[in-house]
């Protein structure tokens, strides 16, 4: 029986996965833009971004633009690598599912 690939529990969370995917397509993004795209609450969004930051998947930059505070997020190289590996693991698992498997054990945060 083939070995099941590991799924990164940090990346696997729905909102965190959405955030990493969004950030993978842009250079930097503001908190407000991420909130608009995910329609998550401020508290939930902030908490998930903090988890990604603590994992080293996302970098944060705070600055003032026209005297208004702006928080910019960008995906790090580690984050991009984690997302790529996650997609590969998903495809592998789905390949196995096509061969008969239907349920998998994954680490969860």
């Amino acid at each position: 029986m083939p070995e099941l690939p590991e799924i990164d529990p940090i990346v696997h969370g729905r909102l965190r996965l959405a955030l990493l995917s969004l950030l993978s397509g842009v250079e930097t993004a503001e908190f407000t833009w991420l909130r608009a795209k995910t329609e998550a609450t401020d508290g939930n969004l902030g908490a998930q971004l903090l988890k990604l930051e603590q994992a080293g998947y996302v970098a944060v930059e705070k600055k003032f633009v026209r005297r208004k505070p702006q928080t910019l997020y960008r995906i790090t190289e580690t984050g991009r690598q984690a997302l790529t590996e996650y997609v590969q693991a998903l495809k592998q698992l789905l390949g196995l599912a096509m061969d008969g498997e239907s349920t998998f054990h994954t680490g969860s945060s």
Binding site: S21, E27, W33, T38, A40, A97, S102, S108
Partner: protein, 200 residues
Amino acid sequence: MHEHTTEHELRERLSLIESMIAEGRRKTESWGWTFVLWGVVYYAAIAWSAWDRSPWAWPVTILIGIIATAIIVSSKAGNHPETTLGRATGSIWIALGISMFLLFLALGLSGRLTDQHVFLAAISAILGMANGASALILRWKVQFACAVVWWAAAVVSCFGSDTQSTIVFLVAIFLCQIVFGIYGVIAGVQRRKRHRPIHA
């Protein structure tokens, strides 16, 4: 803690990744209003130049269009992330605005803006180039169709009569600025309606 992950959930995660990446890259649809605005600017310039043949008609209306666009863009700027794709397409339209302003200002002031056919062919070809480049970058067939309409208008301007070239130019503005712009706005609104909240 461990949980069971079903095949359905894995597929849902994959489609979430695809939709979010596309969401991050999709910007042009949210710029539909600029096409409508510039369609109105071209119609205003044509009406003004037909009314009193002023050499200032095109440079002044284009300058007003640039200022109006800049004001609206700066008020919306904070909501858009920076992307390489966005910068690439944005730079095409900024360069187009500068080129048209300088060309028509110089042609108007030098008094060499006398041949309507050459004028319409030049403006149509420039707009065809910008739409074509943007469509190729974004792989957007609808915008490429607009580029084809502009290129056709440029050719008709060279071979058609005064009336024919004017009608084709007015139709091209209507299709490629007004209709395409409204299509972009509607597509953006529909996409936002389909959008569902994402929970942790």
